[in-house]
């Protein structure tokens, strides 16, 4: 069944995507088509088939606990849209 406008709005909020009403309507419709197209998945026989999350067949990949030089403060902040010279600066949290 197609996504309700509420579902689309909820998903957009989860993804923190500010969408215009027109975008919500259009993307909602496109999602319906895509979900319809991929509904073939629901018919696949996957009884006792394991899940594949990765294809490298690797396990226990780790590093030894050795610290290394970090960036300097100014390097860390260099690309930030807003700082106070020491911290990343963001607007007030009103949640």
């Amino acid at each position: 069944m197609p996504l309700s406008p509420e579902e689309v709005a909820h998903v957009a909020t989860l993804a923190r995507l500010g969408l215009s009403d027109e975008e919500k309507r259009r993307i909602g419709a496109e999602l319906d088509l895509i979900l319809e197209h991929i509904s073939a998945l629901q018919r696949a026989d996957i009884s006792d088939v394991p899940e594949t999350a990765q294809v490298g067949n690797l396990v226990n990949v780790w590093r030894e606990d050795e610290p290394a030089q970090s960036l300097h403060q100014e390097q860390a902040l260099a690309e930030a849209p807003d700082t106070d010279g020491q911290y990343f600066k963001v607007g007030a949290i009103q949640e």
Binding site: H10, T13, L14, R16, A53, Q54, G56, L58, V59, N60, V61, W62, R63, E64, D65, E66, P67, A68, S70, L71, H72, Q73, A76, L77, D84, Q86, Y87, F88, K89, V90, G91, A92, I93, Q94, E95
Partner: protein, 492 residues
């Protein structure tokens, strides 16, 4: 304060159901997934970061092996099972202190499961189940201009802490009072410090505790509405917050009200929990397997190696102490409070000092001095060996108690060789025959009455004479020797 908060229980007819969720930063050298230092407080803000923990485009995490081993060590110390297969997952949510927009944590296949922690509460054995111990990464920290979040105009983000290895220890809702909750946390902290995985600092947040608190009618089987309590930065806060919350919930129910499932923050200054109900940005963490990290398969051998390296834990050690050194359960638990205390005690005893004597001194004068100077015995000028040497002088009779006390106080901070000082100051016990004999003769000459009384059978008169000799020697005379000298002369 009513009886209920004193004992941290709930009003008659109700039962408290409490489960603690503890987050503990691991004492690794580097962060969980990048080589930045895990000692994040030393650097200037954001000066302990790299492209990985800043969540720059294109970076990838690499697991810190030591963090995995510390978590397994903890899990084993808490009697958990270690599954053969475990993996990391992504927990997706947005917050400025979470650089990647997801936290790498463990969801459905944690490093460990089904453990428990036992402790005694008012002399009763209590057991709290441990649901799981898993490994994840810490977030950064934020400061809000205007300390009340709601009134803040802007916020500052420091990512020095982002990516520090963090262990989550989820307890079962088996705790039935604030006292039990506090004791559980005390014992858990003690174990984490014993096995060297955490520094136990609740105030600075390297050890953090949230509580899930609910109440239900006695006999009820289904759980009441659960409230999550946060911002408890000390044992006292944990105890008070849970006590308050239990009372609040009972109060609501007694007033015929209904409880809301919510998160409440403990506000020390108000001595109350207040709702942190946020403008509901619906939470749906969309966990899924972390594609950047292959899973872990810990062999039995690896797990057993880690188990073998676990030191004797506080409870076992306390039990052994009372067994081996004939100490009361109370003394034993005091002496095993920290690994340092327990090690010091055993060092002193193995140096030849009688177990009981070592215990009394360490729990008494030594503990007092340690408090007074905020200086543990091991770090003090005296040191563990120094204490052993001093107590040996006492036991050999070379010095008496009061002298030993004076020396202890002096040496604790300043340090020095007790034996040397004793001889140099001539404050040793007077047990030289001829020296005492002269004093004894003087005392006999000066106390004819007492002597006659003794000869007349009033044996207690001897006590007065001994007292006089002691007086004359500044209490340092060997009482036994004085006794025999007097008897010998008076029965002559």
């Amino acid at each position: 304060m009513t009886m209920q908060t004193v004992h941290g229980g709930v009003a008659a007819g109700y039962e408290a159901v409490i489960g603690l969720e503890v987050h503990a930063q691991l004492l690794t050298r580097s962060k969980m997934f990048c080589p930045c230092s895990a000692a994040y407080t030393k650097a200037p803000p954001n000066g302990n970061t790299c492209v990985v923990c800043l969540g720059m485009p294109g970076v990838l995490p690499v697991i810190n092996r030591e963090a995995v081993e510390m978590t397994v060590r903890t899990a084993l110390a808490l009697a958990c099972e270690i599954p053969a297969f475990t993996k990391f997952d992504r927990k997706n949510y947005f917050y400025p202190d979470l650089p990647k927009g997801y936290q790498i944590t463990q969801y459905d296949l944690p490093l460990s499961l089904n453990g428990h922690l036992e402790f005694s509460l008012d002399g009763e054995r209590t057991r709290c189940g441990i649901t799981r111990v898993h490994l994840e990464e810490d977030t950064g920290t934020m400061q809000h201009a205007g300390d009340v979040l709601q009134e803040a105009t802007s916020s500052l983000v420091d990512l020095n802490r982002a990516g520090v290895p963090l262990m989550e220890i989820v307890g079962e809702p088996d705790l039935r009072s604030a006292d039990a909750a506090r004791e559980y946390l005390v014992r858990l902290r003690q174990i984490l410090m014993y096995i060297g995985v955490n520094d136990g600092n609740l105030e600075q947040g390297s050890l953090r505790c949230d509580a899930n608190v609910s109440v239900r009618r006695v006999g009820a089987t289904e759980l009441g509405t659960k409230v999550e309590v946060k911002n408890m930065n000390s044992f006292r806060a944990v105890h008070r917050a849970i006590g308050y919350e239990l009372q609040r919930q009972v109060g609501v129910l007694e007033a015929g009200g209904a409880l809301v499932q919510e998160t409440r923050g403990w506000v020390e200054t108000r001595g109350a929990t207040i709702s942190q109900r946020s403008k509901e940005m619906a939470h749906d963490y969309r966990y899924f397997p972390e594609p950047d990290l292959p899973p872990l398969q810990l062999s039995r051998e690896t797990v057993e190696e880690i188990r073998a390296a676990i030191p004797e834990l506080p409870q076992a050690r306390a039990a052994r102490f009372s067994e081996q050194y004939g100490l009361s359960a109370y003394d034993a638990s005091l002496l095993t409070a920290t690994q340092a205390d327990a090690d010091a005690y055993e060092a002193v005893v193995s140096a030849g000092v009688t177990a009981k004597v070592a215990a009394n001194w360490q729990m008494g004068d030594v503990a007092a001095l340690a408090n007074e100077h905020h200086l543990a015995l091991a770090e003090s000028g005296l040191g563990v060996a120094g204490l052993a040497a001093l107590l040996e002088l006492v036991e050999s009779g070379a010095i008496n108690g009061p002298t030993a006390k004076e020396l202890l106080t002096e040496l604790y901070v300043g340090g020095g060789d007790a034996a040397a000082l004793v001889s140099e100051r001539g404050i040793g016990r007077v047990s030289d025959q001829s020296a005492l004999a002269t004093i004894v003769d003087q005392v006999i000459a000066a106390n004819p009455q007492a002597c006659d009384d003794f000869r007349g059978g009033k044996t207690q008169a001897l006590g007065r004479l001994v007292g006089q000799v002691m007086k004359a020697t500044g209490g340092r005379a060997d009482a036994a020797l004085v006794n025999s000298l007097l008897r010998e002369r008076l029965s002559g």
